[in-house]
Every structure is written in structure tokens, then in C-alpha cells.
């Protein structure tokens, strides 16, 4: 979403500038030499098209809905394009240390997969929560506790500013040990 914002923000700015410029140009043209109006934007045509419409017309409602959907998209884009950095405790004042959720997931994933009883594992991490899904050939309940402990010790080794919650789910898969 951050990348999309990075691309769309200047385009939206440009769009605003173009609309503003068009309004100024058309107004000045209408004022100074009404004969050559409209210069670029065919606004008199739009005006005649909108002449008979009331607020109840289907066309007006459809336009409103389209604008609303675009607006909602732009609004959500602005709201969700935040950074997802995971903060570590500061080693010294004046220094801020961050890491990516992906890094946390990778570190935890390495530890979990290195465990003998785990066949496969997937990890999703954020600053608040680490979710581990592991598969094993042994009874799931026993492995779940081991994996949880493993994840907790891995996270304890990292000096995270706030310890994320850990959610572990283990399933038993069929196979030969």
C-alpha cells in the first residue's frame, strides 16, 4: 500500500493542479473573449447535458456512487499506508532500532523448522503478534508446547520493545517417521 501511495500521491496532486488550471483558464477565456470559449474543456456541452437532471435522476445517483467509491478507495489508501516496523529496545539514547516483521518471522521460522519434531512450519509476524502454524508426525498437543516454548525463547533473545503475543497451532500430518 505504501508503494501505491508513493505512485498515486503525485498523480492526485497533478490531477488537482490540472483541474485548478482548467477552471482558471476557462473562466478567464469566458471573461476576456467569450467568442473563443470554451477553449479546451467542453463545459457548455456538459451544462446542457445536466440541464434536465434532478437530484433523483439515475445518472446523478450513479455518478455520486462512482465518486463515493473512488473517494473511499483514496481514503483507505491514505489511512492504511503506514509503516509496519517492529521497534527494538533502544540500546542508547539517540538511537532507534527497528526491524521488519518479515525478519522476525524468518528468525522464528528458522528456529521452529530446526526442531526435530516439526515437519513444516509457516510464520506470520507483526509487532503485536506472531502466529506459527506447524505440522508434525507426533501427537499435536505435545509438540505445541515445545514449539511455543521455542518461539518464546527466540523472541526473548531479541530485545524487542514490546513482546508480541504468540499463537501456535500444530496439526498432525500422516507420514512415515
Amino acid at each position: 500500500m505504501r508503494l501505491l501511495l508513493r505512485v498515486l500521491a503525485p498523480l492526485l496532486g497533478l490531477l488537482l493542479a490540472v483541474v485548478g488550471l482548467a477552471v482558471v483558464v476557462e473562466t478567464v477565456t469566458l471573461w476576456v473573449s467569450p467568442a473563443s470559449s470554451p477553449l479546451i474543456v467542453p463545459w457548455p456541452t456538459w451544462l446542457t447535458a445536466a440541464e434536465g437532471l434532478t437530484w433523483q435522476s439515475g445518472g446523478v445517483r450513479a455518478a455520486a456512487i462512482v465518486i463515493g467509491v473512488i473517494g473511499l478507495f483514496v481514503l483507505i489508501l491514505g489511512l492504511v499506508a503506514r509503516r509496519h516496523d517492529v521497534f527494538l529496545a533502544d540500546p542508547v539514547p539517540e538511537v532507534t532500532v527497528t526491524t521488519s516483521p518479515r525478519s522476525i518471522a524468518r528468525a522464528v521460522g528458522h528456529e521452529v523448522r530446526a526442531h526435530d519434531e516439526v515437519v513444516s512450519a509457516s510464520v506470520v509476524a507483526s509487532a503485536k503478534k506472531v502466529t506459527v502454524k506447524a505440522a508434525t508426525l507426533d501427537p499435536a498437543a505435545e509438540v505445541r508446547d515445545t514449539v511455543r516454548e521455542l518461539v518464546e525463547t527466540t523472541l526473548a533473545r531479541l530485545p524487542l520493545a514490546r513482546r508480541p503475543r504468540v499463537a501456535v497451532s500444530v496439526t498432525t500430518t500422516k507420514g512415515v517417521k
Binding site: 496532486g13 485548478g20 477552471v23 445517483r61 491514505g78 538511537v95 532500532v97
Partner: protein, 201 residues
């Protein structure tokens, strides 16, 4: 965590996000308002009025000059906001040179590239760091360091910190003759299983 080191973590997208959010809100508000009028929330008579309202048309034709000035004003404001927004979000993040002395006759600045190369080289010498990148952000008078380190699998982060503060940042502070250099460090954990082999000179 100081405010300046926190600000050095990444380029801020705050301005873009605010403007985008405001634009979205305006569009949504306009759309909701049009729909509410259409569905007769503000009275069924108002819902049946034309979109190009005769009252407004009449006002515009009687006050032609005022209407034109208003239109021009709105256009100029939109144009300026749009232009400022575009330039602002297209402008690359500055890489400041650091000025060590502003005294006339002995003005001394250090180039951005020189500082960053030195810091990067120092950081790559730390045990467990496979790759380092460094750059300065902020202004020449108030620079801050942004450092991103890729750590080898199994490296203890605390050891890296100790080395980082004791060697790399201490040297940088010494070079700048400052007691504190705001620094944002970004760690990539476990990215590779072994350090990259030493480069052949």
C-alpha cells in the same frame, strides 16, 4: 528513543497520507451528500429540484463578476495545492553534506558520500554483519544517520549493538565532534546463512 532518531527511521509519508485522506474524505462527503439529497432526506421537494439549480444560475447571472472571481480563486487554490503536493512528493529525500565549521575563512563541510562510505565500512567490520548501508538524512546543520544492517543467522543482536555503539557510532560522533548523533538502525535478521566472503582488493 529521541524524536530525531525516530524521524530518521524512514522517509515520512505523513504529508502524502494526510492529503490523500483529506481528498478521499471530500469525495466521500460529496457523494454521500448528493445521495442523501437524491433520496429525499432533506425533503422530497429538494430531491426533485434540478441539479443545475435555477436559484444558483440566477445568482451567477446577476453577480457575473463576483462569480468569475470566485471561480478563478477556487481554480488558483486548487492549482497551487496540487502543484505543491506533486513537487513535494516527487522531491527526492535530501542527502545532506555535514558542515563542521561555519566560521568565515575556515568553512568546512564533509561530503555525504565520504561519511557514508566510512560508516558503512566500519559497520561491515562488526562480527555477524553481512551487509551494511548508511546514509544521512535531515539538514546539514542537524544531520541524522540511517543505517541498515543485514545480520547473519544466529547473531546475537545485543553483541552487534555493543560493537555498533562502541566502535562505529563512537567514531562517527568523534568525526563530527558532537556528543550525540541521532541514528536509526534497521536490522534485517537471518537474511543469509553465512557472511559474504571478504572482497578481494
Amino acid at each position: 528513543m529521541s524524536r530525531r532518531s525516530r524521524a530518521a527511521v524512514a522517509r515520512s509519508a505523513g504529508g502524502d497520507r494526510t492529503l490523500t485522506t483529506v481528498l478521499g474524505l471530500v469525495l466521500v462527503a460529496a457523494s454521500v451528500l448528493a445521495l442523501l439529497v437524491g433520496f429525499g432526506v432533506f425533503g422530497s421537494f429538494r430531491a426533485q429540484r434540478p441539479v443545475i439549480d435555477p436559484m444558483i444560475v440566477e445568482w451567477v447571472s446577476t453577480h457575473a463578476t463576483a462569480a468569475r472571481w470566485i471561480a478563478i480563486g477556487i481554480g488558483v487554490v486548487l492549482f497551487l495545492i496540487g502543484l505543491w503536493w506533486t513537487l513535494r512528493s516527487l522531491r527526492p529525500e535530501p542527502r545532506p553534506d555535514v558542515s563542521l565549521s561555519e566560521l568565515p575563512g575556515e568553512r568546512l563541510t564533509v561530503e555525504h558520500a565520504a561519511i557514508c562510505d566510512a560508516v558503512r565500512h566500519d559497520a561491515e567490520l562488526i562480527d555477524g554483519v553481512s551487509r551494511a548501508r548508511a546514509r544521512l538524512v535531515g539538514t546539514p546543520q542537524k544531520p541524522a544517520l540511517r543505517l541498515s544492517l543485514t545480520l547473519v543467522e544466529g547473531t546475537d543482536v545485543r553483541d552487534v549493538w555493543a560493537d555498533l555503539d562502541g566502535r562505529v557510532l563512537a567514531r562517527a560522533r568523534e568525526a563530527f565532534a558532537v556528543s550525540a548523533l541521532p541514528t536509526a538502525v534497521r536490522l534485517e535478521l537471518d537474511a543469509t546463512s553465512a557472511p559474504t566472503p571478504a572482497r578481494v582488493q
